[in-house]
Subunit: 259 residues, 2 copies
Amino acid sequence: MKTKLKIVKIGGNLIDDAEVLATLLKDFSAIKEPKILIHGGGKIATATSKKLGIESKLVEGRRITSAEDLEVITMVYAGLLNKNIVAQLQANNCNALGLSGADANCVQANLRHKEPVDYGFVGDVNHINSAIIQQLLTAQLTPVFCAISHDGKGQLLNTNADTVTAEIAIAMSKYYEVELMYCFEKNGVLENVEDENSVIPKINTAKYEALKANQQIHQGMLPKMQNCFYALKNGVANVVIGSSKLLQSNSTLFTQLSL
Amino acid sequence: MKTKLKIVKIGGNLIDDAEVLATLLKDFSAIKEPKILIHGGGKIATATSKKLGIESKLVEGRRITSAEDLEVITMVYAGLLNKNIVAQLQANNCNALGLSGADANCVQANLRHKEPVDYGFVGDVNHINSAIIQQLLTAQLTPVFCAISHDGKGQLLNTNADTVTAEIAIAMSKYYEVELMYCFEKNGVLENVEDENSVIPKINTAKYEALKANQQIHQGMLPKMQNCFYALKNGVANVVIGSSKLLQSNSTLFTQLSL
């Protein structure tokens, strides 16, 4: 039987609230199993860009990562956020190790095709170095990833944090029974987006298709759920979506996904 | 007999020149022995602070690290510089792993006493986690440190890069025969600071005391040399000071220190 591994993704909105983040990191540190944390960005990157006078570029409503944006992202995600999260985890006796995808060649990606839309310095994951991540876990370390990858040729790339999380979870399933936990600003997948208590406890593929057909799933939720089912289809044992409270051992309010 | 370990410190001035840095990282990657890189800051932190409208504070001519300065240092040193250096090393087939002192609890420090001068968020190293650094080296990884430490209670601290280097070198001497290489903008310790070719090839303790007595050592050089002798007295096998060319196997222009 494989050892259990918990992989926790925390969204940017949770990082923006220092108190929520502190509690979340304390709960995460209390997890006894081997574990990995992956964090998003939050508002601080946008705020820093603004202070530096960098204008964000949108093409067809989607954000483009310019060379200047990539610099800010690297500073804020891999520097400010990642290192402060690591320092806080250390204070909670969790031996955290902060990583970008370039570190130990953990997450390699291809620059996204420039057609039909040139997204700039954005990467699509092509390889997870699962062997080295396992070695770090075996050394009792807790990897803490920001969502920056590299192309192996010296270029850092901005990468979607939910996707990186799914790819890492899939790759680590070779060695572990992986539970994937997406923590974000809502209590789970909601039946009614206005009602925080309308969490759908379980969603399987059939239910997901029905919810999609009825347009009951909030736009921002769709790619997140796609990632969840992608992970389940590729070897991840268990996937749940919920709020920061998901990490508390007595948590009951969340959405569990299954095939 | 202990395995050899090369520890290379590169100063901020070398980082500011992209071409010099690229060559240096290529030469570093070509080192076959286990190795560690430690990098300074360079002008980009000051430039970023300026762009963000943060004024640097000086007390008695010495720079103070305010909370805002620490944020910028964390962004630039641990984020922008560290990750770009790691990505470049990866491109040279060196399996680099970027670290701050908080990562894997590698470098723990105490906040410097606030008397007689309050330097702000500055740390003095109190512990190097040499066991974990050895584990990383054994896993064929090349640690790349920026000079940020942590206090173990959640606070990151700005730390002198030359001092962190000496402390890491001393701690690693338990496991390895350590050669410490300080690379900076000059060819070595100069007899005449105006003449790049006046490199003193060898300096022992007696010579160092004589140079100091004659006020022949440039002010900025004194703490660097103190670190070198401190390292030698505490188990480091060999210490050399030179330019970025120090890493080229046929380099002959440098200063070698001995007790």
